[in-house]
C-alpha cells in the first residue's frame, strides 16, 4: 500500500489532529513525527490507531464513526485507543463493544495519558516481534520451576514447596509420598496435604 512505503521504519506517524494531545508526552522511547494520515497514529505497516476519549464520545457520539469510515478499510489491525476518563463508562463501553465487531476495530482501554502513550510505544516496539513470550512458557531455572509446579494447588506457598522437596529429595518422591508422611512436615496442615495429594492422584480426564 501507498502508506507503508511512506512510514519510516522506526517512527510513529502522528496526524496533526493529535497535536497537543497529552498522550504524546507519554511517548518517550520511540520517535514520532507528524504526517498527513487518515488515522490518528500509524504504528506499523499494517497497524493504525484512533484515539477516543470517552468524555468526548459522550458529547459527540457520531465522531468516532466518521473517523472509522474515513479509514476506508485500510490497515489490518485498527486499534481504538479509548481513554476511560468518566465514571459512568458502562453504556459507552457496551456500545463500543458492539461497534468493534461491526466496524472491525480492536478496543484497547487506558486510564491515563501516560498509559496511552505507553501503548503507542508498545505497538511500535513489538511491530516485528515474534509473539514468543506469550506463546509458550518461558524457560526458567530449576528452582523456579519447582516452586511454580508445587504451588499450583491453592494455599501451598513457596516455603511449603521447599519443605516438601527438602524432605523427600525429589519431586517424584514427593508425589509418591502418602498424606501421613507429608503431614509431618512443618507448615503442611491437613488442608494443604489433602490438596496436594488430590492434585497428584486425581485423574486428568473424565472416564466413561
Amino acid at each position: 500500500q501507498a502508506l507503508s512505503s511512506r512510514s519510516g521504519p522506526s517512527s510513529i506517524l502522528v496526524s496533526p489532529r493529535q497535536k497537543g494531545n497529552p498522550i504524546l508526552n507519554g511517548v518517550k522511547t520511540v520517535v514520532w513525527e507528524f504526517s498527513d494520515i487518515p488515522a490518528d497514529y500509524v504504528l506499523g505497516a499494517t497497524t493504525c490507531a484512533l484515539f477516543l476519549s470517552l468524555k468526548y464520545h459522550r458529547l459527540h457520539p457520531e465522531y468516532i464513526y466518521n473517523r472509522i469510515r474515513d479509514l476506508r478499510g485500510q490497515y489490518n489491525l485498527r486499534i481504538l485507543l479509548t481513554m476511560v476518563d468518566i465514571e459512568n463508562h458502562e453504556e459507552s463501553l457496551r456500545e463500543l463493544s458492539k461497534t468493534s465487531l461491526a466496524n472491525n476495530v480492536t478496543i484497547m482501554l487506558c486510564w491515563s495519558a501516560q498509559e496511552a502513550g505507553r501503548y503507542l510505544e508498545l505497538y511500535k516496539t513489538f511491530e516485528h516481534a515474534a509473539p514468543t513470550s506469550i506463546r509458550a512458557q518461558q524457560s526458567t531455572s530449576y528452582s523456579d520451576k519447582l516452586v511454580e509446579f508445587i504451588t499450583v494447588p491453592r494455599s501451598i506457598n513457596k516455603t511449603d514447596a521447599l519443605g516438601l522437596v527438602s524432605n523427600f529429595g525429589s519431586v517424584r518422591t514427593a508425589i509418591n509420598a502418602g498424606p501421613e508422611e507429608i503431614g509431618l512436615i512443618a507448615g503442611w496442615g491437613e488442608k494443604k496435604v489433602q490438596r496436594w495429594c488430590n492434585a497428584v492422584r486425581e485423574p486428568f480426564r473424565l472416564k466413561q
Binding site: S100, Y119, L122, F126, Y142, T159, R172, E181, A186
Partner: protein, 936 residues
C-alpha cells in the same frame, strides 16, 4: 399418601431446643442460624430421615462438604435401621464428574436423598437431566455462602421458578457472614427464597435451659504461662506484623486501611482480611505490596507454629522459611521481604535457635575453618509448659480414679485429649509414650519420676541435625546458579519398619483416634531419610546426643498407628484405660464424644464450639459425668483468638436479632415469572418498531460447563437468556453462530499468558469462528483499570526485558488482528454486553458448538477434563507445550503415574526433547549425592 407422611420415625433429638427446631422445620420453610457446636448436623439428619422414611421423594442436599456427606450418609443408614423403616433409601452422592450422565439420570428417576455438588446440579437442572418440578424439597447447608452471585443462589432461583410447592430449608452455624453489608440478613433471605429466619444463639432461652437445666459439666480452666523465649518470639513476630502493615500503608495510599491494626492482626485470618481489602486493586499493586501480603500469611503461620510445633520443629520450620525467602540471584535489597531486615526478625531466628541448642552453628564458621570443632555446642531443648501441665493432669486423673473408683454411670473412664490438628496429636502421642523414659543411668536413684520430654526432644534434635545437613545442600542445589546436570536419581523409599511390640514401660496404651493414621512410617530417627555426614560440628553435637542404651531400646514406631495390625491388637484395648488423642474436626467431634464416652476430657487448646459440644453431650446423657480440663497459654495469641471468636459470634447474633426485628415483611417475593420478565425486556428493546420476530425464539447462549464456576451464567439467566451448558472445546461462550468468546478474569489473564494457554485458545477460536472475542472481565467492586500504582515511567524503558500485562495484550492483538477485545467492569456488565451483542442475530447451535475443534479421532467427552489444577500443574512442567499437555492428558492417568514413568516412556509420548526435561524435573535429587543410611 397421607399415611406415609406420618410414618413412625424414631428421632435422636434429646434436647428441647433440638426438638423445637425439628418441629418448626417440619411445618414451614425456614433459615436456621444456630451457634456453633449445638449439633446442627444432628438436626439435619433427623429432618432428612423423617422425609426419607416416608419414601417416594426426591430431596436435594446442597452445599454439604465431604465430611458432612459421610456423616449424613452414616447417620441416615443408622436411623433407617433404628426406625426399621422399609422405605428409607439413605443418601446418594453425586459429587464427581466421573459419574456419567446416564447413571445420574437413572438415579434421579429412582428418587431418594441426593447430595449433589452445586456445579453438577446446576448443569443437570439447566440441561434438563433433572427436572426441578420433580423435586420434593431442597435442604441447603452452609447457607452463609449463598450470596447473590453464588451457584447455590442460581440453583435455588431455578428451583423456585419451576417449582413453587416443594419445601426449602436452609442451615448455617456461622452467623458472622450474615452481618456484613447493608441489611445483610434481608438480602440473604432473598437469595435463599425464604421469608422466616430462626436464630438459635447459645444465649437463646430454650438453648440455655436445655444446656444448663440439668447437671452441668465440670470445667477446670488452666492458664499455662508461656516460657520467656516463647513470649519473646511472639512479641517479635507481632512487631514484624506491625512493621509489615505500616509498610503496606506507606506503599498503598488511597486505600481504606483504618482497621489494619495490630489488634486485628490477632484475629485468625488477618492476612485474608487484608488480602480481601486489597483485592479490588490487586492487579494494580506493586510486586512489593504482594510480597508483604504473602509475608503476612507467613508470619501468621509462624505465630501458629510457635504454639503448635515443638522447639526443634519450630526451628526447622524457620530454617525453611529463611531459605525460601532468599532473594533470587542478582536481585537487589528491594526485592527482599522487609520484615527480614528488622531486629525483631533476628530475635525470632536467634531465640528459636536458642530454644534448641546453644553455640554457633553458622555456615561462615564452616567455610572459614572447616576442621575446627566448636566446643561450645550444647543442646537446650526447651519443652512446652503445656506438656508438663498435661502430665500433671493425667497424674491427677490417675489419683482421682483411684480414690473414686467407677462411679455409677455409663461413661467408661477413658480420657479424651482434644488438640488443634493431626500434627499436635502425634506430638502429644509421642510425648505421652516417652515421658517416663529415662536417658539411662540415673533412673534407679529415685522412684518418683518427673515426666519429661527430653527423650523425645533429643530424638527430634538428632533427626533435625540430619535434616539440616542435607538441607544446606538443598538450598545450594536449588538456589545456586550453577545448573549442573545432576541425574543421580536417588529414590530412597523408606523402609517400612514394622516393630509393633508395645513399649515396655507404658502405663496406658495410647491409641490414635484419628481416621487417617495408616501408611508408611519413618525410620526411628523420625527423619524421612538419612544421609552422609559433612559438617564436623554437627558431628560433635551428634556425639553429644548419641542414643543411650535405653534410648536405642525404644525402637517402636511412635506417632503413627499402623492400622495393618489393628486386628491383632484391637480387642486388647480396654476402654477404661484408654487415652484418646483427637484433633478438633467441627461437627465430627460429636461422634468422638458419643463413641468414647469419656469421663475426662482435656482440651489441649481452647475451642469454643467444643465446649458447647460437651454441654450438649452432657445434657443429652444425664447418666454420664464428664470432667473437663481446659488449657491455654496466658497472654498468648491463642487466648486472644479464643476470646475474640466468642465475642464476635455473640455480637453477630445480637445484630441479627436486631435486624430480624426491623425486617420488612415481603409478601410473596417469588413473582419473578420468567415469561413475564422476558416479554418486558423485549418490549423495551423494540421501541421504534423493531423486529417482532425476536419473540419467536428466546435468546440463547451456549456456555462451557467449566464456566459454571463463575457467576456469569447465573447473571445471563437473570437477563432472561437461556443458558445451555455444553462441553466446549473452543471458547467459553457462544453467543451467535459467529461470535465465540473466551472469558478471562484479570488473574486468569495473567496466568494464561504466562503458560501460553491463551495463545492456543485464541488460535483455536480464530480457526473456527468468524468473530472471536476475548473478554477481559474485571471483578465487581474491583477497580476497573490495569494501571499499576507504581510509576509507569520507571518500567517503560525496560518494557521489552520483562513484559508486563499491557505489553502481552499488545502482542496478542498484533498476532491476531481479527481478535476483538471486550472490556467489562463486572460480570453484571458482561451480561448486558452479551445481550447487546446478541440483538438481531441468529441463535447459536449447541450441537455444532460442541463439535467444533474436536479431534475427529477422539470421542467428545473423553478429552474433556474438569480438573483444572492438574492441567495447570502439567503446564508448569519444564518445556511443556499445549500439544504435549494434550498427549499426556490422554495417555497418562494422573500426575503420580507420570512422575513414575521411565525416561524412555515419557520420551516415547512427548518426544525426546521435552520428555527428557520432564523426566529430569521429576527425578532430579536436591540432595545432590547419594545418601548413606546412618543413625540406627
Amino acid at each position: 399418601m397421607p399415611s406415609d407422611e406420618r410414618a413412625p420415625v424414631k428421632l435422636s433429638l434429646p434436647l428441647e431446643f433440638q426438638q423445637d427446631i425439628f418441629k418448626e422445620l417440619r411445618e414451614e420453610d425456614e433459615l436456621i442460624i444456630i451457634a456453633r457446636g449445638l449439633g446442627l448436623l444432628r438436626i439435619v439428619t433427623n429432618l432428612l430421615h423423617s422425609y426419607d422414611a416416608a419414601g417416594n421423594n426426591l430431596i436435594l442436599l446442597v452445599g454439604a462438604d465431604e465430611r458432612e456427606n459421610v456423616w449424613i450418609g452414616e447417620a441416615l443408614a443408622e436411623h433407617a435401621a433404628v426406625s426399621m423403616s422399609p422405605k428409607a433409601r439413605g443418601l446418594s452422592l453425586v459429587n464427581t464428574d466421573l459419574m456419567s450422565v446416564g447413571t445420574r439420570e437413572k438415579m434421579y428417576v429412582q428418587g431418594g436423598i441426593f447430595s449433589i455438588t452445586s456445579r453438577i446440579l446446576i448443569v443437570d437442572f439447566l440441561s434438563g437431566l433433572l427436572n426441578p418440578e420433580t423435586v420434593t424439597g431442597v435442604v441447603v447447608l452452609h447457607a452463609e455462602k449463598v450470596v447473590a452471585t453464588s451457584l447455590e443462589a442460581f440453583i435455588l432461583r431455578i428451583y423456585r421458578q419451576k417449582n413453587k410447592s416443594g419445601f426449602l430449608k436452609a442451615f448455617s452455624d456461622s452467623p458472622e457472614p450474615f452481618t456484613t453489608g447493608f441489611a445483610p440478613l434481608t438480602n440473604m433471605m432473598k437469595n435463599l427464597f425464604l421469608q422466616k429466619p430462626a436464630l438459635y444463639p447459645r444465649f437463646h432461652v430454650t438453648v440455655a435451659k436445655s444446656l444448663e437445666g440439668r447437671k452441668k459439666a465440670e470445667v477446670i480452666e488452666l492458664e499455662v504461662p508461656m516460657t520467656e523465649a516463647m513470649r519473646d518470639i511472639q512479641n517479635a513476630v507481632l512487631e514484624c506484623v506491625e512493621a509489615s502493615i505500616s509498610e503496606l500503608r506507606k506503599s498503598n495510599t488511597g486505600i481504606e486501611m483504618e482497621d489494619w491494626t495490630l489488634d486485628s492482626a490477632l484475629h485468625r485470618n488477618f492476612d485474608t482480611t487484608i488480602r480481601r481489602q486489597l483485592d479490588p486493586v490487586w492487579h494494580r499493586t506493586s510486586f512489593k505490596t504482594r510480597q508483604i501480603v504473602r509475608d503476612l500469611s507467613l508470619l501468621r503461620t509462624i505465630l501458629h507454629a510457635l504454639l503448635a510445633y515443638d522447639a526443634v520443629n519450630f526451628n526447622k520450620y524457620l530454617d525453611t522459611v529463611l531459605a525460601a525467602s532468599q532473594p533470587p540471584p542478582g536481585s537487589t535489597k528491594q526485592n527482599q521481604s522487609p520484615w527480614l531486615f528488622l531486629d525483631a526478625a533476628d530475635t525470632i531466628f536467634t531465640t528459636a535457635k536458642r530454644r534448641v541448642y546453644e553455640g554457633k552453628i553458622s555456615n561462615t564458621d564452616l567455610i572459614n575453618n572447616p576442621n575446627v570443632v566448636p566446643d561450645s555446642l550444647r543442646p537446650v531443648l526447651e519443652e512446652f509448659p503445656k506438656w508438663t501441665q498435661l502430665a500433671e493432669i493425667l497424674q491427677e486423673i490417675e489419683r482421682d480414679s483411684y480414690l473414686n473408683p467407677a462411679p455409677q454411670d455409663s461413661s467408661n473412664g477413658s480420657i479424651l485429649i482434644m488438640c488443634g490438628d493431626q500434627g499436635t496429636c502425634s506430638q502429644l502421642r509421642e510425648y505421652l509414650q516417652t515421658m517416663y523414659v529415662r536417658l539411662g543411668g540415673e533412673e534407679d536413684e529415685d522412684d518418683f519420676q518427673e515426666p519429661s520430654a527430653s527423650f523425645m526432644m533429643r530424638r527430634r534434635l538428632r533427626s533435625y541435625l540430619a535434616w539440616k545437613r542435607d538441607f544446606s545442600k538443598v538450598s545450594s542445589v536449588l538456589f545456586s546458579e550453577n545448573e549442573k546436570a545432576i541425574n543421580s536419581s536417588t529414590d530412597q523409599r523408606i523402609q517400612n519398619r514394622k516393630a509393633n511390640k508395645p513399649p515396655p514401660n507404658k502405663r496406658r496404651r495410647v491409641r490414635g483416634g484419628g481416621t487417617a493414621v495408616s501408611g508408611p512410617s519413618r525410620t526411628d530417627t523420625g527423619a524421612v531419610r538419612t544421609a552422609g555426614d559433612r559438617d564436623a560440628h554437627i558431628a560433635s553435637l551428634m556425639a553429644e546426643l548419641k542414643p543411650t542404651e535405653i534410648e536405642s531400646m525404644q525402637k517402636t514406631e511412635i506417632g503413627l498407628d499402623p492400622l495393618e495390625n489393628m486386628e491383632d491388637y484391637y480387642e486388647l484395648f480396654d476402654m477404661n484405660d484408654l487415652v484418646i488423642i483427637h484433633p478438633y474436626e467441627g461437627d465430627m467431634d460429636e461422634h468422638v464424644l458419643e463413641e468414647t464416652k469419656p469421663r475426662y476430657v482435656i482440651m489441649y487448646e481452647p475451642d469454643a464450639a467444643f465446649i458447647r459440644r460437651i454441654e450438649v453431650y452432657r445434657s443429652s446423657h444425664t447418666d454420664r459425668t464428664v470432667k473437663v480440663f481446659f488449657m491455654y497459654y496466658g497472654g498468648s495469641v491463642e487466648e486472644q483468638r479464643y476470646l475474640s471468636t466468642v465475642r464476635r459470634e455473640k455480637d453477630a447474633f445480637t445484630r441479627l436479632i436486631r435486624e430480624r426485628g426491623n425486617m420488612a415483611l415481603t409478601i410473596n417475593p417469588t413473582n419473578t415469572d420468567p415469561q413475564e420478565s422476558f416479554l418486558r425486556t423485549i418490549n423495551t428493546r423494540i421501541a421504534g418498531g423493531g423486529r417482532l420476530a425476536a419473540t419467536a425464539q428466546p435468546p440463547r447462549v451456549v456456555v462451557d460447563v467449566r464456566e459454571f464456576r463463575s457467576s456469569l451464567p447465573s447473571l445471563l439467566h437473570g437477563q432472561s437468556i437461556i443458558v445451555v451448558p455444553c462441553m466446549l472445546t473452543v471458547g467459553d461462550y457462544i453467543l451467535t453462530p459467529q461470535i465465540c468468546i473466551e472469558r478471562k478474569s484479570v488473574r486468569d489473564l495473567i496466568g494464561s499468558f504466562a503458560n501460553g494457554r491463551l495463545y492456543n485458545q485464541v488460535e483455536a477460536m480464530m480457526e473456527h469462528y468468524k468473530s472471536p472475542m476475548l473478554l477481559i472481565e474485571f471483578d465487581q467492586n474491583k477497580s476497573f483499570t490495569l494501571e499499576p500504582f507504581s510509576d509507569l515511567s520507571v518500567s517503560s524503558g525496560a518494557a521489552s526485558v520483562v513484559p508486563d500485562l499491557q505489553s502481552k495484550i499488545v502482542m496478542l492483538t498484533l498476532a491476531f488482528p481479527r481478535l476483538k477485545i471486550i472490556w467489562s467492569s463486572s460480570p453484571y456488565q458482561t451480561a448486558e454486553i452479551f445481550s447487546e451483542l446478541k440483538k438481531n442475530a441468529d441463535e447459536p447451535d449447541p450441537l455444532k458448538a460442541v463439535q467444533l475443534g474436536l479431534d475427529p479421532d477422539m470421542q467428545g467427552d473423553e478429552i474433556r477434563s474438569f480438573n483444572q489444577v492438574t492441567q495447570d500443574m502439567l503446564r508448569a512442567l519444564p518445556g511443556m507445550n499445549e500439544k504435549a499437555v494434550m498427549t499426556l492428558i490422554l495417555e497418562v492417568e494422573n500426575l503420580q503415574e507420570l512422575a513414575n514413568l521411565e525416561e524412555r516412556e515419557i520420551c516415547g509420548l512427548i518426544g525426546t526433547d521435552i520428555g527428557r526435561r520432564v523426566y529430569r524435573f521429576f527425578n532430579r535429587s536436591v540432595w545432590e549425592d547419594v545418601a548413606v543410611p546412618m543413625l540406627g
